[in-house]
């Protein structure tokens, strides 16, 4: 590393200030206040670290990392390494300076006339309960220490750093999950240490043995390899099947996640594979749900038909599929932003149709449709979340299977070509009309299936359940997961649908967190959490870190 110029020292200061400002923002909107009671680390019933505090730390940690990461490569000499520690500390110091300034300001004037969240409780959290003078000094020292620590971890060799970071990240995550799922009280220090060390050790061991394991597997006979594949999948499958044992509430959350996975898999085909930005996707979800409701609810007497869930399901799905085609035809010639705007309109129109007084005798209007029967399998009524989980799981498995097969098919390649360049695709012999309509139809099918299950889950549906926000949420799921990536849909739905449901205290901040998550993803990892190989290539070929 070369001697640093003045601007090299300004960068960490800026990063630090930025981290501090983000933390400040998080505090001022009230995120800290609502979550300071949710424990992560406890000792004798006292909270050592809460989610609220973690929320303040995270931006600072991330910005410190950003500050040191630029210089981390090639830090061989001792002076370089010390320089890096200083960079981190500097960054952390300035971050905490922002917070200290807030505390001071809060003492001098009453911030609460403008920022109602600038409460004494918050200041107490920020100063570690040590009062203004001492607390501020401790806060500054703490910030510098934290920054230094981040820099120190960055300096570790990859082999050790990854397991360590994973262990460190897993502890709060596991603590939050257990506290949300089982009304637990977070981890005590020994438990936290145990979880962290075990996770780190396992990762370390896995990273050491995995290459060898792969060689061994490659050396196996074909039948041996098949057996290996079966065993490799056994554990994940067992876990997925056992998930409802966690209880009614986690199952409820998982069912909601599943509904979004199903929709996400469909939208992923439309947007991710075929490149057609559809913002009215909720329309097909609504159609599936309403078709199910109209055909099965005893309230709907105008047509004289009363089907069971399973009898109505094919019709509900078919209704959505046809709607996908019918709504697809007028937008065949549109691309990009035009398509987005027109489909957005479609989504709203469908919702307004369901809401209209004109169709009230047929569709229930604003009163919605109630008394939708539950699905029955054999003699078991799927009347609670742990049972419904298996229904939605089956739906997701089928949809994922179809999506995977389609991706590698001739149709999948046609979608890919169309996404790249419609004219050239056409000149290669791809029938644009057919290819586009098939994308809309497949996407709508999955969404309709999701909607049908949704209707029977809730047993009553109302037009306001099918707001445009649902479309945006599904889009968020596939963006966060990774456009075009099938596992990404699952991860995205867990992150954007599952987490917020678990952490109920954040309910009112849901949209804010959505926005923040999307901005953060776009800045740091535009290819998504579980990127599709091709997109990763595309987004990172410039910086050569494929």
């Amino acid at each position: 590393m070369n001697a640093r110029t003045r601007s090299d020292w300004m960068a960490p200061v800026k990063s630090g200030l930025m981290g501090g400002l983000i933390a400040l923002l998080i505090a001022m909107v009230g995120l800290v206040e609502v979550s300071v009671k949710r424990p992560i680390l406890t000792a004798d019933g006292r909270i050592l670290l809460s989610v609220g505090q973690l929320l303040l730390l995270l931006p600072i940690i991330l910005m410190c990392y950003k500050a040191v990461q630029v210089f981390a490569a090639g830090c061989e000499k001792v002076t370089d390494r010390l320089g890096l520690l200083a960079t981190g500390a500097l960054s952390g110091f300035f971050a905490s300076l922002v917070l200290a300034a807030l505390v001071l300001l809060g003492r001098v004037i009453n911030l609460r006339t403008v920022f109602i969240r600038a409460s004494p409780d918050l200041f107490n959290t920020l100063t570690f309960g040590l009062g203004l003078g001492g607390g501020s000094v401790v806060l500054l020292l703490f910030g510098a220490l934290l920054g230094g620590l981040v820099a120190a971890i960055t300096l570790l060799p990859d082999r050790i750093r990854r397991p360590l970071v994973l262990g460190l990240a897993l502890v709060p995550l596991a603590a939050i999950l257990t506290s949300a799922l089982f009304a637990g009280r977070g981890f005590s220090v020994p438990v936290a240490l145990l979880v962290g060390v075990v996770a780190a050790a396992l990762t370390f061991a896995w990273r050491q043995t995995q290459p060898k394991l792969q060689d061994r597997v490659a050396a196996l006979s074909p039948s041996g390899q098949r057996t290996y594949q079966v065993f490799r999948w056994l554990l994940p499958v067992a876990i997925v099947l056992a998930l409802p044992r966690l209880g009614a509430y986690p199952s409820e959350v998982l069912v909601n996640v599943g509904l979004f996975v199903l929709m996400g898999l469909g939208l992923n085909i439309v947007v991710g594979f075929a490149g057609l930005l559809d913002l009215g996707y909720v329309a097909f979800y609504a159609l599936g749900a309403y078709a199910m409701a109209v055909l099965t609810s005893p309230e709907m007497t105008w047509h004289g038909i009363h089907l069971t869930f399973w009898q109505a399901l094919p019709f509900a799905v078919l209704a959505s599929t046809s709607a996908g085609i019918i709504l697809g035809i007028p937008v065949l010639g549109m691309r990009g932003d035009y398509l987005a705007i027109v489909t957005l309109g479609f989504g709203e129109i469908i919702r307004l149709v369901f809401l209209s007084d004109w169709l009230k005798p047929f569709l229930g209007g604003s009163n919605g449709i109630t008394r939708i029967p539950k699905a029955v399998v054999g003699s078991i009524a799927l009347d609670n979340s742990p049972k419904l989980y298996y229904l939605i799981l089956a739906g997701c498995v089928v949809a994922a299977f179809v999506a995977i097969r389609l991706k590698d098919s001739r149709l999948g390649r046609a979608w890919m070509a169309m996404r790249e360049d419609e004219d050239v695709a056409q000149a290669m012999g791809i029938d644009l009309i057919k290819t586009k309509l098939l994308a809309f139809a497949t996407g709508a099918t999955f969404s309709g299936l999701s909607g049908a299950i949704f209707a029977s889950k809730l047993t009553s549906i109302y037009p306001h359940s099918f707001h445009v926000l649902v479309s945006i949420n599904v889009l968020g799921v596939i963006i966060v997961g990774g456009m075009g990536s099938i596992p990404g849909v699952v991860v995205g739905a867990l992150a954007l649908v599952g987490l917020p449901e678990l952490l109920r205290e954040f309910a009112e901040f849901r949209l804010l967190m959505y926005g923040a998550a999307l901005v953060f993803m776009m800045l740091t990892r535009p290819e998504g959490l579980v990127p599709e190989a091709r997109r990763k290539l595309e987004l990172h070929e410039a910086d050569g870190e494929v």
């Binding site: 070509a417 790249e420 360049d421 056409q426 000149a427 012999g429 791809i430 644009l432 070929e541």
Partner: protein
């Protein structure tokens, strides 16, 4: 009978009258070139032939069958492939995938494989970069890929839109050698070019276009010696 014949073609972009009664023909086994200034309507002519644009009146016949009403994806199956202007390779797909895309309408696996080998023999540079993402290829390599991709459809008639655009002179020469070779192997070529000198040196016949009409039609030899062509397109004074 001509392989391809355009008779009194009128093509519009909305109110813009881009082709004002074009009549040209290309015989089996020929290289025919279409030269003309920017905006003369050369690309529009090619797009009209391969169905990306449809003429308002006039006829396009391929082996005596009129095709002007067919959609682009059906015209490909009849043996017409285009390497479009400005290369337009599938940027996120690698070289092999791009070539496979060119053979989208074909089902004969062996034939596809043979043609892939043929393209790699014609353009060894592409073989070296078979797994490289097309968007990262150099301009010349992308041009080779665009031509190779069109060849993968195993066309009777290959439409090339300005294959020399933006390439160094040495590469232009190499590309045109390959075009001659492709033609010698039995593919008829309709070549649109700005570089009239080199186009007229490989073609047997040529057409000169001006603002949507054919101004001159003659053998390449005669066009090279034509006073107006020399002045306007060969830049001689």
């Amino acid at each position: 009978m001509a392989l391809l014949e355009l008779q009194d073609i009128h093509t519009y972009y909305g109110a813009i009258h881009a082709l004002k009664g074009i009549s040209i023909h290309v015989d089996e086994g020929e290289i025919v070139t279409l030269i003309g200034a920017n905006g003369a309507g050369k690309s529009t002519t090619l797009n009209t032939i391969c169905g990306l644009q449809h003429p308002r009146s006039g006829s396009v016949t391929l082996k005596g069958e009129s095709i002007q009403h067919l959609p682009a994806h059906e015209i490909v199956t009849r043996g017409v492939a285009q390497a479009p202007e400005g290369r337009r390779v599938f940027g996120r797909l690698n070289v092999t995938e791009n070539l496979e895309m060119g053979a989208f309408v074909r089902v004969d696996k062996d034939g596809i494989k043979r043609d892939m080998e043929r393209v790699f023999t014609l353009f060894p540079r592409l073989k070296e970069r078979a797994k490289q993402v097309a968007g990262t290829l150099s301009g010349g390599e992308q041009q080779m890929l665009a031509i190779g991709r069109a060849l993968m459809a195993s066309p009777r008639l290959l439409l090339l839109d300005e294959p020399s655009m933006g390439l160094a002179p040495i590469l232009v020469e190499a590309i045109f050698d390959t075009i001659t070779e492709i033609n010698a192997q039995g593919t008829t070529v309709l070549l649109v070019e700005q570089n009239a000198l080199i186009a007229l040196s490989v073609a047997s016949r040529g057409y000169v276009m001006e603002t949507g009409s054919i101004r001159l039609a003659d053998t390449a030899e005669a066009l090279r010696n034509n006073e107006m062509v020399r002045r306007v397109y060969l830049g001689e004074t």
